[in-house]
Every structure is written in C-alpha cells, then in structure tokens.
C-alpha cells in the first residue's frame, strides 16, 4: 500500500490491519480474538490448506494474534493504527516522521516503517520457544515434453514466489515423483528445510499419442503403391529416426511394432512404439500416373469379376 501523498522520501507504507486479518471488530474482547485466531489458523494452516497463499496468510495470522492477544502490544498497535490513518489522510510530513522517530529505539534513529510492521513496532521477534523444526514438503507439477522427459535436463520453476532451478534425470515417467532434497519449505528456528517433490506431467505431443502406460502410437503415411507392394519406411521415434519394414498388402490402420521405442517402464525397460499405417493418396496425379491408375483399375475390376462369377 502506498500513501496517496508523495512523502518526499519514499517510505513503503505497509500497514497491516491486524483486526481485518483476524476478521474481528476493533473492540473485540480477548476471548473473541483467541477464538478467531484458532479458527482461522485451522483454516489456513499450510499443512491443511494447499492454496499457494496459505503459508503467507498463516504467517500473517500468527503476527496478528501475537499483537492483538497481548494487551500491551495491542494498545501500542491501536495507537499506531490511529496515527497511521491520520498520516495517510491529512497529517503533514513532519508529524509523520516525528512519530516514527519517537517510536524508534534510539534518539533520532529513523525506523523503517513498512518492511516489517511487527519489527518496527516491537523489535525483532523472540526466537520461538519450541525450538527448530523442519520445513514443509512441497509438491509441484513439472510439465515436460515427451522428448525432455526422455532426455532429462534443467528447468527454472517459480514456486511460492521463489525461483528454483531443477535438474531432472533422463527417462522420467508420467506421474513420477522427483524428490529434490532441501528445496521445499523453509525450516523454522534453524530447522532443516523440507523437500520439494515434482510430479512429472507429460504434455500431449503433436505426433506421438500415448497408448496405455508406456506405449506410443505414431501415424505412418505411405503411398497406395507402397502399401500394395511393401516398402521400408522411415519412422520418427522419440529419440530419433528408425526404419520399419512395411509388408506388402498393408491396409490403413495396420500396426507395425517397434519394440522398446516407447516410454520408460516403471520397473525398467521401455514400452513399444506402434507405427500405424495410413495410406495417403496423392491429390493431384500426373498424366502418366492417371494412365497407370486407370489400367490398374481396369485390371482390378476384371479380376474381381472373374473371382466372383
């Protein structure tokens, strides 16, 4: 939040309305504040609420509760709250500055107001009495193309507002969890950080289609004469090109299996790639082609008449 008036020096006004945070009126009694805090703490506890802003909200709740549940701190905060509103609306710059100078610890030391409201009011937080604790494990999706999932690589992810650089191994499966030790939530009071678990999510591929857990399908276009006479065709695989023998008399929809050219299997090894024959007829025929097709059509019809009298 920024003051509507330019204060000359830029002071980031970051006043947090603790009453609003706890959703209680300004004249709420101590019991009502305790009740509100407990209820909201259960609602926004990051272990119970997977929303990305739960951690931040929970911290804010703790701060609000620490101030408002303590009669002395609450009084001090209430005085500041009033002054803050005055300052925002019409107080001249001097009185605003004076106020913070007085609130500061030493003579004339200017208190940075805004960075951390709690600290500027009450000084550094006391270390938690209940000791260190490991941070939360967090989970995020890692969207990978099929090629990247097979090759492995590096990604930069933004998680809860921080950037994390991630190396992922080769041959990861869809839905697989990759554990990144120590890249999860911050530990408390010197406790170790949690782990980050990335769940691999394979993006759909424009040409390779998944079949079952680890097989892939790809279309293989051949000409009518190749289909009739047989050929050896180049097939795209996730890791390069392979050659496949198309037997004579292959119709559209025939599946040609390339063993081990699919996706990694759970226990090791790989699934298969299926090249699915698709007969592609040229749209335009040259005169010579047309002539040959006509001959072919004639021969085919006479032969089928002979075959079925």
């Amino acid at each position: 939040m920024r003051s509507r008036r330019d204060m000359g020096r830029s002071v980031a006004l970051n006043y947090t309305d603790y009453y609003k945070v706890l959703q209680v009126p300004r004249d709420a009694d101590q019991a009502a504040i305790r009740r509100a805090y407990r209820k909201l703490a259960r609602k926004y506890h990051p272990d119970l609420n997977s929303d990305s802003d739960a951690e931040e909200r929970f911290k804010e709740l703790g701060e609000a509760n620490e101030v408002l549940s303590d009669v002395e701190k609450r009084e001090q905060y209430d005085r500041l709250g009033d002054r803050w509103r005055e300052a925002e609306h019409e107080a001249p710059e001097e009185s605003f500055e004076d106020f913070f100078t007085h609130e500061g610890s030493g003579q004339g030391s200017r208190v940075e107001f805004g960075e951390d409201l709690f600290e500027s009011l009450f000084g550094a937080r006391a270390p938690r009495a209940d000791g260190p604790l490991r941070g939360r494990d967090s989970e995020a999706l890692l969207d990978l193309s099929l090629e990247d999932a097979l090759a492995g690589g590096r990604r930069r992810l933004t998680l809860d507002g921080r950037e994390v650089s991630v190396n992922f191994p080769s041959r990861v499966r869809d839905g697989q969890l990759i554990r990144l030790a120590g890249k999860g939530g911050e530990g408390r009071a010197g406790g170790p950080p949690g782990d980050l678990f990335l769940r691999v999510a394979l993006k759909p591929h424009p040409r390779f289609h998944r079949r079952g857990a680890d097989d892939l399908d790809i279309e293989l276009s051949i000409t009518p004469s190749e289909a009739a006479l047989g050929t050896t065709a180049a097939v795209e695989t996730p890791t390069g090109t392979a050659r496949v023998r198309v037997p004579a008399g292959s119709s559209s929809g025939k599946r040609l299996r390339l063993r081990g050219r699919g996706l990694p299997k759970r226990g090791g090894g790989s699934g298969d790639l299926h090249a699915i024959v698709k007969i592609a007829v040229p749209k335009e025929l040259s005169d010579r082609e047309r002539e040959l097709y006509e001959q072919l059509a004639h021969v085919s019809s006479t032969e089928s008449q002979e075959a079925s009298p």
Binding site: D47, R134, R136, I178, R179
Partner: protein, 100 residues
Amino acid sequence: MSGDNRSGPADRDPSAEELVELTVVARQAGVKIVHVRRYLEFGLFEPHPDAATKTPRFDPGNAARVARAERLRRDLGLNYPGAVLVCELLDRISQLETRR
C-alpha cells in the same frame, strides 16, 4: 542439507541399506528425539518390517511426516494423539483425491 539435487523416484520402498535409526529421523525432522518417540508410541510411523537387526530401523521418509505432525501440534495446540489423527486423516484425503 546442501540442497543438492538428489533426484530419483520417490515412490518406491527403500532398500535395507537406506533404512536409518530413530535419531536420524529426529535430526532430519528437526525434532527432538523425545518428541519423535512420542509419535512412535502413538503409531504415527513404525519400524520398517524388513529390518531384522536389534535396533529398529526406519524409512527416512518418516522425517517429513514427523515434522508435519509437530507443526500441526505446535501451531494448533493439539496433543500427540490429536496430531497423529490429523495426519492419518490427511493421508486419507490425499488417497481419495488421487483416486478420483
């Protein structure tokens, strides 16, 4: 922890060599061993059945579980069995969610 990328499939059972003693679980959870013993008493986790040694050994993955129970206990004013119960219910919720 140095933040190294120890990446690998996490959805598997640890082999016998990877099992650790309770003190290691406690250290990795950042929780005092006395508290970890309480969670063990209330059945938050169990020694690994494969460990045929005198001292019980544990899946190191339990550290995160202990830390979660401890966060819930401290933050919400629960007692040990309450925190264990919440963890079990959270497990059931995540099972139901993945089944969908």
